[in-house]
């Protein structure tokens, strides 16, 4: 790495060093926009410290990628410069509230506007690629060829595998930063692991990123850290509800309130006008525009106003999918939040609203404000391996880590930790836990029946 010219203080990595060209990218308006997009959306309503943004996370990923290159002895290899920029720019396409925007972009995109080979791509990844390829500052600083290499590293890399492993894989720089960073800012100890030991054990063998056996305990700790932070932060019921409330506000803003600015923001059509508009948005503008004094009155604003006042929807139903009859279980196991499944979801939400309206003492519950969700949890081992393979240099033979670790084998038996919870959130209130339990117990069987009825009552062919 060229001489560092700038040192930035960071609570996770102490100092992050940038050279002159990296600093120019960080100073660009497109990168500075990430300062205004929170890493965990409205998780601060649950964990007040969770106000960190994509900006410092991107710097952190860059720092870890530099460390990985150094440890692997690849600092001066052909693609090292592109790897550093890929780490720095990997989140450039995030919209307001990060992953919440991803869901909405995937829901409302005009995929017909995309070439055939891109129709299955995630929209925010296409946006990131386009911005890297076309932003004038990025092109001026890193050049078109490096920009293209960065895009390939982030999407469809066919070069040296170890370079991609730094950017995307079970032990990529992204995960090595966000677990520690999210844990720190949320004020929880769940995401911590011995990152120094893990990094120290990285080697490059046969062009693969592998661990020496000395890193196995740190990896086992990393596996548990990922599991616990997922359960306690990413899948915290309050956090899931805030995400779902924003997602529903967007959906209603487009489908019911027909807010032109929202249609324009999430109606991806791959046009220059879409990108030009998209990069003008971040969290604060979203809230001002759609929930502020001048915002259009309607269901979208109603939900966002509730969020601003922290009057969150409540989880009124949460049952393991295993408790449903097999034909319902099969149908819900394939359920994803896509336009194809919208009909079934609306039927279920109407049914649940009827149940809640009939006897909850709350009057009529608006079905648009009832949210049906299937929450998937990956098995502990798969979560750690990110559905990939981590190799250990075991007596000069590369071996999948679960073959070397009795602990990982134990936690991977029969898909341990994996499954689907069927949940419903609704705008109800209760004063204490006893009332909540009485409410949920009282409605559980009827909500379950409403879900079964909504699944069974097929209107037309929900094709796949």
């Amino acid at each position: 790495m060229p001489d560092a010219t700038i040192q930035i203080r960071d609570p996770i990595h102490t100092f992050i060093s940038l050279d002159a060209e990296q600093a120019k990218i960080v100073d660009s308006p497109l990168f500075q926009r990430l300062r205004h997009i929170k890493q965990l959306a409205l998780a601060s309503l649950i964990y007040p410290g969770a106000l960190h943004t994509r900006f410092e996370h991107s710097l952190g990923v860059f720092h870890v990628a530099c460390e990985m290159l150094r440890r692997l002895g690849l600092e001066n290899s052909t693609d090292a410069r592109a790897v550093r920029f890929a780490a720095l720019l990997h989140d450039l396409g995030h919209g307001p509230f990060s992953h919440v925007s991803e869901q909405s972009l995937n829901m409302f995109a005009d995929r017909g506007s995309l070439p055939a080979e891109q129709k299955n791509e995630k929209i925010h990844e296409l946006i990131t690629a386009k911005l890297i390829r076309e932003d004038p500052v990025i092109i001026r600083v890193i050049g078109e060829d490096t920009a293209e290499t960065v895009v390939r590293l982030l999407n469809d890399w066919d070069g040296d595998p170890v370079m991609q492993a730094i950017i995307s894989g079970p032990l990529d720089a992204d995960k090595l930063d966000y677990l520690l960073r999210d844990s720190y800012f949320c004020g929880v100890a769940y995401g911590r692991f011995d990152s120094a030991q893990l990094l120290r054990s990285f080697r490059c063998v046969d062009k693969q990123l592998v661990l020496e056996r000395s890193g196995m305990t740190a990896f086992e700790q990393y596996a548990l850290a990922k599991h616990y932070i997922t359960q306690n932060v990413y899948r915290h019921k309050g956090r899931l509800i805030t995400d779902e409330m924003i997602t529903r506000a967007i959906a209603l803003g487009i489908r019911v309130d027909k807010i032109p600015a929202m249609e324009k923001l999430y109606g991806f059509n791959n046009s220059a006008a879409f990108y030009k508009n998209y990069i003008q948005w971040q969290d604060a503008r979203f809230l001002t525009e759609f929930s502020g004094k001048k915002a259009r009155k309607g269901k979208c604003k109603q939900i966002l106003d509730r969020l601003m006042a922290r009057r969150l929807f409540k989880r009124v139903f949460s049952v393991d999918l295993d408790r449903f009859p097999v034909e319902i279980k099969a149908e819900l196991s394939r359920y994803t939040e896509t336009p194809e499944n919208l009909g079934m979801r609306i039927r279920i939400e109407r049914g649940v609203a009827d149940v809640l309206s009939s006897d909850s003492g709350m009057g009529k519950v608006d079905p648009d404000l009832v949210i049906f969700k299937c929450v998937r949890s990956k098995p502990i081992c798969d979560l750690a391996l990110n559905d990939g393979v981590v190799l250990v240099n075991d007596k000069a033979r590369l071996t999948p880590i679960e073959e070397c670790s009795r602990f990982l084998r134990a936690v991977s038996k029969n898909g341990a930790g994996g499954g689907v919870d069927v949940e419903v959130y609704a705008p109800v209130d209760w004063k204490d836990h006893a009332k909540r339990d009485a409410f949920c117990d009282g409605f559980s069987a009827r909500i379950m029946d409403a879900i079964k009825a909504g699944v069974r009552e097929r209107t037309g062919h929900d094709g796949i």
Binding site: P161, E327, G415, G418, I464
Partner: protein, 188 residues
Amino acid sequence: MTAFEFVLLLFNEVPGQRIEGRTKLQKVAYFFGLHLGMGGVLGYRAHYYGPYSAEVADAASMLVSLGFLNETVPSGTLEGQGFERRKYVYALTEEGKEAATVISRHAEPGFINRLQDAVRELHAVIESDYVPLSFAAKVLWITKGRLGSETERIQENAEAVGWKLDDAQVTDARGFLNALNERGFHFA
């Protein structure tokens, strides 16, 4: 169709409704996925052991978690040879069979027939051991179906993604792929 649905339906059609070995599962899904035009959904990438799909791995473990697949490691399968030390055996459960029936109703018309035809015609994929199947998958990945490529060229390109293929492995893989081709296998 999602990877989850594809893997479940594949298990429903393969003989014995079981596949032995994680590598074998990956490669079987790779060949049938390509043949049936599922490549984009399955998202295979070059991995140390050959083409590998995180989506297929995720689908298999979710099917196990839901009780649709049974995963066992029969005793005595710890290997000293090959690269897979422990053989994980996946078999469709009774509940999985019922789920496959439900999910097959959502498949586009003709898909199940095409899948059944593929399993019948390309039975060599299912019958092959995971090691040669893995070499064949690597050669297919490198050549993208252009099997006339020179062996040296294939080896060079394999080396670039960290794969080592000797002459005999390339020759055997080419023979395997040509035989599949003669039985109607679509490379892309």
